[in-house]
């Protein structure tokens, strides 16, 4: 893994919770799926670090934003640990999303003031 990607993921780690919650909005998924989904959706821009993913999943579980259940995968004849968004998780997603939006706008205003004016 090259250094650049590592750094990018590092910066975005704080928002990992939000990405996971957003991913789960489509329905329950297990860790591998979540990671893969985020990676694919960002065109591999965000290489999913397992060292960040699993702690994040367990953190969300502890806070009650996701619930877990071991379930049979439809396409594989095996059980996986599925994460499902809870109602509180949905609310949290809204909160984080709006915070992120504010943050992004604020950063944008600083970074590209001219674009903002025009």
């Amino acid at each position: 893994m090259d250094k650049l990607t590592q750094q990018r993921t590092g910066v975005l780690q704080g928002t990992l919770d939000m990405l996971i919650l957003r991913t789960l909005l489509y329905g329950p998924a297990h860790g591998h799926q979540i990671g893969k989904h985020i990676q694919r959706t960002t065109n591999d821009f965000l290489q999913m670090q397992h060292g960040s993913l699993y702690p994040a999943l367990h953190r969300l579980e502890k806070r009650g934003w996701v619930s877990t259940k071991w379930d049979m995968a439809p396409d594989r004849n095996r059980e996986f640990k599925y994460y499902r968004l809870t109602d509180r998780g949905k609310k949290q997603l809204v909160v984080e999303e709006s915070q992120w939006k504010q943050m992004a706008e604020a950063v944008a205003r600083v970074m590209w003031p001219a674009a903002e004016e025009s």
Partner: protein, 888 residues
Amino acid sequence: MKWWQNRKRNADLERELRSDLELEEEEQRENGVSPEEARYAALRAFGNATLIKEQTREAWGWTRMERLLQDFRYALRQLGRSPGFAAGAILTLALGIGASTSIFSVADAVLIRPLPYLHPEQLVRVWEQMPNGHRPNMAESNFEDFLTQNDTFANLAAYNYGVASVSGGTEPTRVHISAVSPGFFTTLGVQPLRGRPFAADEERPHGTPAIIVSYGYWQRYLGSREDLSKFHLDLEGGSYPVVGVMPPGFDFPSGAAAWIPRELDPPTPSRTGHNWSVVGRVRDGVTVAQARANLSAIALRIRHQYGTQVDLSNAVVVPLADAIIGDVRTALLTLLGAVGLLLLVACANAAGLLMARIGVRRNELAIRAALGAGRGRLVQQFLAESFVLTFAAGILGILIAAGGLRLLPAILPMSLPRREEIIINPTVLLFALSVIVAITVALGLFAASRAGRRDLRGALSSGPRSHPGSSASQHLRSLLVVAEIASTMVILVGAGLLGRSFMRLIATSPGFQEESLITIEFSPPIPQGQAGLDQTAIARQAHLLDDVVARLRTIPGVSSVGLAGAVPVAAGDNLPEGDFLILNGRRPPASMDEFGQMRRNNSETGHALYAVAGEDYFRTLGIPLIRGRMFSHHDALGAVNVALISQALARQRWPDQDPIGQTIDFGNMDFNLEPLTIVGIVGDVRARGLDGPPSSVIYVDYRQRGMNLNSTPTILMRATAPEGEIVSAARGIFRDIAPDIPVKFSTFAAEMGGWLAQRRFLLLLVGLFAAAALILAAVGLYGVIAFFVTRRTQEIGIRMAIGAQRRDVLRLVLGEGARLAVLGVVIGIAASFAITRLLSSLLFGIGATDPLTFAGVAVLLSLIALAASYIPARRAMRVDPVTALRYE
């Protein structure tokens, strides 16, 4: 989930990761990668599974507990693997913790814990203040004025303190008795455990006699009987029913075995007879300062009213705790300081050991870091290890302290206030615990900061055999050793100063031959109490004493027997002192009042100690007659009363005249106004103690003046046979002549031992701490120099290969040791200069910066340092260049 569901959750995580990993692997295979490749690719994609698990567990939050347990297990394993290091560090720290805990328990009992009285902060001692700065006890009439005119005290109580013969219990004994004014016990806020306090008709002049005894006396002499009504104690000729027993631990004034109402003695209205100690309780809401101002105003009024008829010009009010602790504070603070330094040395030593360990464990740490142990994790690991170390050391230390406290009574001076209260209580344990926690955190963080700084890659690549430790850590260890040497220097200087003072003190001659002297306190009752003895009483007393002395003289092995009113030096404080009149041809005073008036003329008075003695006293002690003549049998009861004076008094009071033939009056000592004619001058004696100047003493003849309560009749025997034989023979004689009179045998050496006990105690402990610190510092220095040699083995090999002699190697290594030692000694000397000033009041005959002590200690410390460096230096000299160069 809770932390006890730990296992289940771990299994769950394990399963989750495995299933996801397998899935990854499957997907890789489905993409057409070979099974083996797929496996590695999956593992690569996943990264460090252990680290993921650890970090995930971290997200659960509760793992701190589990991790801690794991750390402790690991720490125990680590220490078990290097028992030498563990034992060294634990013993070092245990020594420091144990010593400081035991000294703290003494300080806690004596200095910190409040006095065992109700609201002790309200209690104060009160003295008169004389214009010359002296603080005498209170005169009776002045006390009455303070008592009735103040508006800041709940009560003021007067008490005195004296020795009396008490019989009526299981055996007659000589004990300390205190006569107390009304409200004495309520002032202190302590009620009798059994019986009752004094009743009103016992606390008035010519009232009903009554006595209250201490718990100890009740246990020992009254058999702890519940029913007190049967007990009547005979006290100096009177019979006193026992009405109460004070609770255990009530010890005021210190050592008192019984209390009687002071009204039983006839009142001695006087404004200059300083007979009463005073304790008071200020009212609620009144500060000590307000009380002091109040009594000062009354003192000024008294002074204004009576002018020079009173001695006082002010009143002194001191919190009772301060008054009791008095000069012990300096000694205890000295001990605390010494033991604190020892603790520092011990910690520095343990830190040095720890650093050496880190050097050895460099690889292990590097591997752990490479495997993903975060820095915080390493810090925690070190904290756990230092906790295991200090905890073990702490338990051992507390055991040492407990053992030390059992030994302490043997060396604690009897004069130490509150010595029975010294125990290991929660406060002391809390102290020990805080010390342990402080050391744990300090050592743990210290170790972690050292370990955390290491360059992992360097450590891993250089392998285990390269020099164990960077030059930075060598530097730090050197600093630690310098600090150790400097602290040791300070303790050693303190011990040296105390030791030299002590040697000077015991080398000081008391003014007579002190060897093989047996002392016997023999206390015939003195019927008239504080008032003077009449002629018949003097004759009867002299007859009894003569009889005893004559019989004692017949014991084989007794070369001479003398008699005096107190053991000089050892019990010199028992000698009364006061102003006497120089009559110069004037008529002697007819009454005590007239005596008081004549005393106001300073040009015709002097000040001296008052000692009752017989002529044999001087012969027995070997006090020489300088001029004039001794007491003789011509000096009978009716003849001219004679006196001997010490050279010091002659020098001081009659510098240009011949004192022999002068007539003086010392009637304030024995209420006998018959004048005294000075007939001789005798050699000087340091009667009040070895640390004082030769005393001004006036000796009077017991056959002419008798011994009243001011004196403790003491027989001194010069023995040429073993003491035991003489004492048992003497016991027989006393049983024969006076079976009811208490007798206390001792030797002058033993009495002196008691007098020296406080100094010896201090010296012994500070000396012990100094020795311990010295050993620790030597070990610390040895460690650093040995480390230095190991690190430089290669360099030494090269030097030798290119022609360096063993001498040069020795110089190199010893030079390193000497450098550290000199630095430590210099810093130590500077610190000592600042610190030993505080010891000044404990020293005798030398200054706080005594150059000989400083130089001696510096030399001693340097020699020890050289010796500690010499052992590794010898190893360095034996380095074989070939081996050393291959060493890498």
